[in-house]
Symmetry: C2
Subunit: 229 residues, 2 copies
């Protein structure tokens, strides 16, 4: 059991180190040697968990979805806003999230990794919009699949601009402005008036979601290490 | 005069060849040798116009703004829509425009080329929104600078998604959907009802703008070659 906990910690240390290297250098220029140095693990330990650079990058991409759990909101459109604000906050502070954006959006990256990270975001967005529809939060003409595509793509463009022009310093503020521009075309007025898009909300939503993920992760890890005796 | 016309044609052939190479391979992997082969010009001719790979890329980036002139519209918001639709159409068909997107948006590209192509688009968008404000087309709360940032960034995200997920096949349709989502939050109702965002409009606007640019270019070239006798 102690050994398995250590393996989990080693795996996390490797993923965090790999994320910081991919984030700074990009996929092509990243080397396993630099990941080893930053993680402070042996080559054998790294290759036990990740047999190649591509496996390392895929591990980072998968990890972006495991560090955050959004508690359901009464308003599903508020849930959509909170997803977008929390992601903005986390992208500025968490190398796994930031590296995942870089790994997903490079022009060659779709060839190497496929497009599953983008479609995962699209599906999550469409799901919450379908729930909003069921609750009567959407205007009648709205197509949840089309709006999910527009919201998700536009969010990504805001991230790219903020990153390129301002080193992401204004990311939460720009995401907030994006929601202010998009929501009036999909939300019924009674819901629209109650939605909170304030950028200051990003930090608290991110903290709440990371706490929930950590709690779920502890339970998950216990399951994971409960190997047959 | 004949010699100067030939120089202009050679320069254009080099830029078109360079654009197709940058578009397919990206900046790092592109080689001047491949540009020479595709352009069918001598090394001396290429280096006369562009002394380095970076100069070639900067030439391509500058050229994206010279192939299209949008005739003023009575509605400045229609002008904004037409800019976005025509750019979508041209990005699918013109290697100079497509390569410029790739050169502008790569994560290292800001370091190599600066951010002037993004700020040029931002300024053009803000200008047309300020004109829309003067004409009474905007809702009172709208901040032209902030909306220009959101529109321009969101357009870019739509381009990235369409490129990654669909090889840009749906780009005009997605840009049209983006405008449908964004315009209700900035346009006064009387203007909103008259705006045409139909993706089928993209082709005609692009053709009109390229014809106007070609006419202006012929005049410009004549000026350019009218060297002192």
């Amino acid at each position: 059991m102690v050994r398995q906990e250590r393996a989990i910690r080693t795996r996390r240390a490797i993923l965090n180190a790999a994320a910081s290297v991919f984030d700074e250098r990009g996929y092509e220029a990243a080397t396993i040697g630099e990941v080893l140095t930053r993680a402070g693990v042996t080559k054998g330990a790294l290759y036990f968990h990740f047999p190649s650079k591509q496996a390392l990058a895929e591990g980072v991409l998968a990890e972006q979805f495991s560090g955050f759990v959004l508690a359901p909101r009464a308003s599903k459109l508020q849930e959509l806003v909170d997803m977008g604000l929390a992601l903005a906050y986390r992208m500025r502070r968490n190398p796994v999230v930031s590296a995942s954006a870089r790994l997903s959006l490079g022009q060659e990256m779709g060839v190497i990794f496929g497009t599953w990270t983008i479609t995962t975001w699209l599906e999550a967005t469409e799901k919450v919009l379908r729930e909003a529809r069921e609750q009567g939060e959407l205007l009648p003409h709205v197509d949840p699949a089309e709006s999910a595509w527009v919201f998700s793509a536009a969010w990504t463009g805001v991230q790219v601009y903020s990153h390129t022009l301002a080193g992401r310093e204004d990311l939460e503020r720009r995401v907030s402005a994006l929601f202010e521009h998009l929501l009036p075309s999909i939300a019924v007025p009674a819901v629209l008036g109650k939605l909170v898009t304030d950028p200051a909300r990003a930090a608290e939503v991110a903290a709440e979601g990371e706490r929930l993920a950590a709690e779920a992760g502890e339970l998950g890890d216990l399951d994971e290490v409960a190997a047959p005796a």
